[in-house]
């Protein structure tokens, strides 16, 4: 950042406002302000983004344990990561599973709910608030809520019992723990709903009316009018969910710990992934390796892999932002 500014000064190029017509050179005084405005962020970017990224890359080639000086071990961490670690394979599978299932379910569910909200004529405010509020609930509280209501003696089992169905064990069943996490996540996807709802309401009504007069059915109108109009928002929702699912941590770790009912503290190696490693996500394993076992070099190699994958998806979003006018994203 700083270098770019010095270059400008040396070249004598004036800092200009938007259009060349209004070109007005800013005085040295103004450049001082620019530097001052950018300085805190430039420091933050260096210390909390660029430096740790570079350091993670370096550590991934070492046997860093958090204490001793890191020793260079070449590609050993990566060889172990890709070829020899059965636990990390499970963790990667769980995360890929969550990415795939969550992306489809969360976007489809949010679109479905938003479509209903867009058609409501009375009580929109109340229903919209009810749909949105769960996304504000702290993830830890939401997770404990779901582990409780889906517990064997919990309300979900009770209600299923009235219908004559024996409720499954959900968070204590290795086959159903991840689906239960998906339900929990859908419950809290109100932000995506609101964003899609806003896009749906922006679709010009006249287009729908004209198509309807021409005899286009609801599905055809959805495919040919609604979908193209809200495509950028859907792409945003997809990328947002992928990046969100790649770093899935809190809900998985807390659910495993609370459902296990053990007295080991949350984040302890003993309860991460309960039941039977079915909720062991990639980031949970990374946390375990780095900060419980102090295999920080190995955890760094995992971090590099996570960074590359999530950055690939972020790049899609950035490309879209560049193609269109600079609009928006949310992590």
């Amino acid at each position: 950042m700083t270098r770019a500014i010095t270059d400008t000064r040396r070249a004598g190029a004036p800092l200009t406002s938007d259009t060349p017509k209004r070109r007005r050179s800013l005085s040295r005084h103004h450049r001082g302000w620019l530097l001052l405005f950018l300085a805190p962020w430039a420091i933050g970017l260096t210390v909390f983004f660029l430096y740790p990224l570079a350091a993670t890359l370096w550590y991934s080639f070492t046997d860093f344990d958090g204490l001793a000086t890191p020793g260079f071990v070449g590609l050993r961490n990566y060889v172990y990561l890709f070829a020899k670690d059965p636990v990390v394979a499970t963790a990667a599978y769980n995360t890929v599973w969550l990415v795939a299932v969550l992306t489809v379910c969360r976007v489809a569910f949010a679109l479905a709910v938003a479509s209903v909200l867009a058609r409501l004529k009375r009580g929109v405010g109340l229903v919209r608030t009810l749909c949105y509020l769960p996304s504000l609930v702290p993830p830890v509280a939401a997770t404990i809520t779901f582990v409780f209501i889906m517990a064997p003696e919990g309300p979900v089992s009770t209600v299923l019992g009235w219908l004559g169905i024996e409720g499954p064990l959900w968070f204590s069943d290795p086959a159903l723990a991840k689906p239960a996490l998906v339900l929990l996540t859908l419950w809290g996807s109100g932000e995506i709903m609101i964003i899609i709802l806003a896009a749906l309401l922006d679709v010009p009504k006249e287009l729908h009316e004209a198509a309807q007069l021409d005899g286009a059915g609801p599905w055809s109108r959805f495919r040919n009018i609604t979908l193209p109009s809200i495509a950028p928002v859907l792409l945003f929702a997809v990328v947002n969910t992928i990046v969100f699912a790649l770093q899935y941590f809190t809900q998985a770790v807390v659910a495993g710990s609370v459902a296990s009912g053990s007295t080991f503290p949350v984040g302890s190696t003993r309860v991460i992934g309960y039941p039977a490693d079915s909720t062991l996500t990639f980031t949970a394993r990374m946390f375990d390796e780095g900060f419980r076992a102090y295999h920080m070099g190995y955890a760094s190699a995992m971090a590099v892999l996570l960074f590359l994958v999530s950055f690939a998806f972020t790049a899609v979003l950035i490309r879209q932002l560049r193609a269109r006018s600079p609009e928006a994203v949310r992590s």
């Binding site: 409780f148 996570l306 960074f307 999530s310």
Partner: protein
């Protein structure tokens, strides 16, 4: 099948009776959705006021209403300390974010300098970065400084600019017509006065949204407090304390639910007072 049927139906104007049926169907769905989203919290509230014995049963409705559970929670765990830590973290982070991020967002949105585009891309990259990626070097940095176990590693990053807030504020700065800035410059305003006296009042909704989201994010944060304060119970925040609640104190579901309610409450209160800001802020973050 459905497609062809509805095509026929909608090819002419929908008759009144059918429109009414459509209305009923959509509104029933709406009510069902509202209930679906509300029920989990309702179950939590009901369990929070049960006796510890009843909370273990399949009952949904409390036989006797034990509102004193909310007081007992504070004896079962240092909830008040957790609450104070959460407030410290969230308020300090929010104030620090505003001081550091508003000027940066302005410089990125409204001042032309070589590299401002690269700067914007860096903001997005930082915003989308999973926090776990940079955890190892940052943890050892804070450990070297002897500050792990305190709230400092959580707060300091916000004092030097928060990527998401810079991004959001930049979006709001971009909505201001250039003429305002030009007029102020012609009048001889310094960039500082332009920012603080001309622009800030105009982007008040954006500032409110950025503050709300930062407060909410830090209040809900779990990974940060677990990483940096996990070993020192004195620095635990509400989210972290709540996650440890059932395990460390071996307490019952009713108290766990009461603690859950207490953790959710501040967020709900915040929403009630700032509903419009929330909704506007969110729609501003979606790609339009």
């Amino acid at each position: 099948m459905t497609t062809t049927l509805t095509t026929q139906r909608t090819s002419t104007r929908r008759p009144g009776g059918q429109r009414f049926l459509h209305w009923v169907a959509v509104h029933s769905l709406g009510i069902a959705l509202g209930l679906m989203f509300a029920l989990p919290v309702l179950f939590v509230l009901l369990t929070a006021v049960m006796t510890d014995q009843q909370a273990l049963t399949a009952d949904l409705w409390p036989r006797e209403w034990r509102f004193d559970n909310f007081a007992t929670v504070f004896e079962a765990a240092p909830m008040l300390d957790f609450f104070v830590n959460s407030v410290l973290y969230s308020v300090a982070a929010t104030v620090g974010m505003l001081i550091s991020s508003i000027p940066a967002a302005y410089a990125l949105a409204r001042l032309r300098w070589r590299g401002s585009n690269v700067g914007f891309m860096l903001v997005i990259a930082a915003m989308m970065l999973p926090p776990q990626v940079v955890a190892v070097p940052l943890y050892s940095m804070w450990a070297d400084l002897g500050l792990t176990g305190t709230l400092w590693p959580l707060i300091v990053p916000y004092l030097v600019g928060d990527a998401f807030s810079i991004f959001l504020l930049r979006q709001f700065f971009l909505t201001i017509p250039q003429d305002y800035l030009d007029a102020a410059r012609v009048d001889g305003c310094s960039e500082f006065r332009i920012l603080y006296q001309v622009l800030l009042p105009m982007i008040r909704p954006g500032i409110a949204a950025a503050a709300l989201f930062t407060f909410l994010y830090t209040w809900n944060d779990y990974f940060g407090p677990l990483l940096y304060t996990g070993t020192n119970e004195e620095s635990w925040t509400l989210s972290l304390g709540l996650s440890m609640f059932r395990n460390t104190h071996k307490v019952d579901w009713n108290l766990t639910m009461a603690a859950t309610v207490l953790t959710i409450l501040p967020v709900i209160v915040l929403f009630v007072f700032a509903q419009k800001t929330f909704i506007r802020g969110i729609t501003f973050t979606g790609v339009k």
